[in-house]
């Protein structure tokens, strides 16, 4: 199995990202039902001193679903997005969604490793004057934080440490699997979210559910299926003492935040607030919880934040 390693996950690696400019692919959900993710990402970027140049003409990455109808179409759509980044002189395309990360990287891998795929893509892109030269690297915001900012540097920027808040990381699927596509860290034993939580002053909670599926992609296929998967994972986190959950994926966020209530009869009440990655980092870096959109959650994080002196009383 080929491992694709952009950079190894090195805890505490420090590299200034001041004034660095990145292509930014927010994905569909951050522009529709999770706008707080888009907004908190832009606020965090400003606080970090990096520029995210949104690829406004980009299309959906395929979201794992377009492959079900035509495998070529998602690959060529993503080639079009990469061509837009190249035209702007941007080699890095930063995502804030695990599904976008996994599927955009898979498409890029196919384009770079098989000249027939690249040829097909450029033949179609040529119809409207575009071309992809293969220079783009797709990376998640989490990897940018760990590699380009560095957790040591991030730690120095913390002005509101998380005061021991017990946070369960929820990696989900597409940011770690398959390793042949992602491979930035071990899919079986990832630790980047734990390292980040600790760097922000929180306590990382270990539990078996952290690398399992949230069920989002099958929520409409059969009654109760997503709720059961959510309930199972959140039960494991709660049983290990979690007070909140951190996820790098808005699809996981929607499922975990939205379906816990439907899982009560089988898995008991869990009521765990679910944080988007830039929300929790932004909170520790001193950004106001409401500005970060923490009042836009189905399970309010207000009480948990207040218990740890992380938010004023109006965030409920």
């Amino acid at each position: 199995m080929t491992m694709v390693m952009d950079k190894p996950a090195i805890k505490g690696k420090s590299k200034s990202a001041q004034m660095r400019k990145y292509g930014f692919f927010p994905g569909c959900v951050a522009k529709e039902s999770c706008k707080e993710l888009f907004n908190s990402t832009m606020l965090l970027a400003d606080r970090l001193g990096i520029e995210l140049v949104e690829l406004t003409a980009a299309s959906c990455c395929g979201a794992s679903v377009l492959n079900d109808t035509n495998r070529d179409v998602a690959r060529v759509l993503n080639a079009r997005t990469y061509a837009q980044a190249e035209a702007l002189g941007l080699d890095d395309v930063i995502t804030i969604c695990s599904t976008c990360t996994g599927h955009m990287r898979a498409a890029n891998k196919e384009l770079l490793e098989d000249e027939r795929h690249m040829g097909q893509a450029n033949a179609i892109l040529g119809k409207f004057g575009a071309k992809y030269d293969g220079t783009v690297k797709v990376r998640h915001l989490l990897w940018l934080l760990a590699d380009d900012i560095g957790l040591d540097e991030l730690k120095k920027m913390v002005v509101r440490p998380l005061n021991g808040l017990k946070v369960a990381p929820f990696y989900g699927c597409h940011i770690i699997r398959p390793e042949s596509v992602n491979g930035w860290e071990s899919a079986r034993n990832p630790h980047s979210l734990e390292d980040l939580i600790v760097a922000l002053g929180g306590e990382a909670v270990d539990y078996a559910g952290k690398t399992r599926c949230c069920g989002f992609h099958v929520q409409l296929e059969k009654d109760g299926i997503a709720a059961n998967m959510v309930g199972q994972n959140m039960r494991m986190a709660k049983d290990q003492g979690a007070e909140a959950v951190l996820t790098p994926c808005p699809l996981c966020h929607l499922a975990l935040d939205g379906y816990q209530a439907d899982a009560v009869s089988r898995w008991g009440r869990t009521d765990l607030p679910i944080f988007h990655l830039p929300q929790l980092v932004g909170l520790a870096l001193g950004i106001d919880p409401s500005t970060l959109g923490m009042n836009k959650h189905i399970i309010s994080p207000g009480l948990v934040l207040q218990e740890h002196d992380l938010a004023p009383a109006h965030v409920a």
Binding site: R80, F128, R177, E179, M229
Partner: protein, 319 residues
């Protein structure tokens, strides 16, 4: 240096609850496999320890079990690779199966789903009708090489999070075997096979890639996607799964984006009142949190380019 096997013990004939036994191995080096260590424990220390094994060469698939929480083949797992800091190894039965005795599990649900597929070639004519053997091109055979390496160890089934909450799901191995016959040019039952696997909840695959941990590198995920495409090609589209895929394609072609509101309606069915009522609580929760996705979506700039890609590749969408 000694190490310990921390073994799950249970006998359905006599036990109500499982317990664990710790067996110290002093006479075998760490370079042996976990299966070697178990064989030694059974032969020399406790003959009642029960596990399945046969080939010792990662070909028969019998010795799949949970090793330190990770499912895999004991005969392919070196002791040195899995020793914990306290020099122990936890040995458990595969998850998603009922334990029978110690690490041996009831495999019936797994085999039932496999046999429902009629896992043998069904050509439209008889072998005796052919003067020579049936010829298959290297290109056609190449599609089947990877899945032919499946040893039915059930690791993918044990790791599947969908199976863990809904045992009705066929699971990765069975769907990969459906692919094996659907893609075989000699077989004549493509539509029947697609319909069968569709009935066995093909579309419950959550695209989570847990099956990418396959010890034989079969990695059924791409085969599952191919079977989904085959069901659409065969016109088996009156289910939420294919409707979801087709409506996502439709909205991406129309707007460049996956339009959440349209996708929910298209998947459930715009006039399926009962179905829409079932998803209503989730939608209401989103609305109450101020997270209402737009009813209408403005197309991204240069959306004509996106439509050109769909048209050129003749990608199907919801009509």
């Amino acid at each position: 240096m000694a190490y310990t096997l921390d073994i799950f013990r249970f006998d359905q004939a006599t036990d109500e609850v499982p317990h664990r036994d710790r067996v110290e191995i002093t006479e075998l080096p760490e370079t042996v496999t976990v299966l070697d260590a178990l064989e030694h424990a059974k032969a020399e220390i406790d003959g009642s320890i029960t596990f399945r094994r046969s080939c010792r060469s990662a070909i028969c698939g019998s010795c799949s079990m949970n090793i330190n929480g990770t499912t895999g083949l004991a005969c392919k797992t070196p002791v040195a690779a899995v020793l914990k800091s306290d020099r122990s190894i936890a040995i458990d039965p595969m998850p998603n199966f009922q334990p029978m005795k110690d690490v041996v599990v009831h495999m019936d649900p797994f085999w039932d789903k496999y046999t429902r597929l009629k896992p043998y070639l069904q050509p439209k004519d008889k072998d005796s009708d052919h003067a020579t053997e049936r010829r298959v091109s290297p290109e056609d055979m190449h599609k089947l090489v990877a899945v032919a390496n499946c040893v039915m160890c059930a690791t993918c089934y044990a790791l599947c999070p969908v199976v863990s909450v809904d045992p009705a799901f066929a699971g990765p191995a069975a769907i990969a075997y459906a692919y094996r016959f659907i893609e075989d040019v000699r077989d004549s039952k493509r539509k029947e096979r697609a319909a069968q696997i569709s009935d066995d909840y093909l579309w419950l695959c959550a695209h989570c890639y847990a099956c990418s941990y396959c010890p034989k590198h079969v990695d059924p995920h791409d085969d599952i996607i191919a079977v989904k495409r085959a069901t659409i090609e065969e016109g088996l589209v009156d289910e939420p799964g294919p409707r979801h895929a087709l409506v996502v394609a439709k909205t991406v072609k129309q707007t460049g984006m996956l339009h959440e509101t349209e996708v929910i309606q298209g998947t459930v069915g715009r006039f399926n009142i009962k179905g829409l009522l079932k998803v209503a609580p989730f939608g209401l929760r989103l609305a109450m949190a101020g997270k209402i996705p737009p009813l209408f979506l403005k197309p991204v700039p240069k959306v004509d380019e996106i439509r050109t890609i769909f048209d050129t590749l003749e990608a199907p969408t919801l009509s």
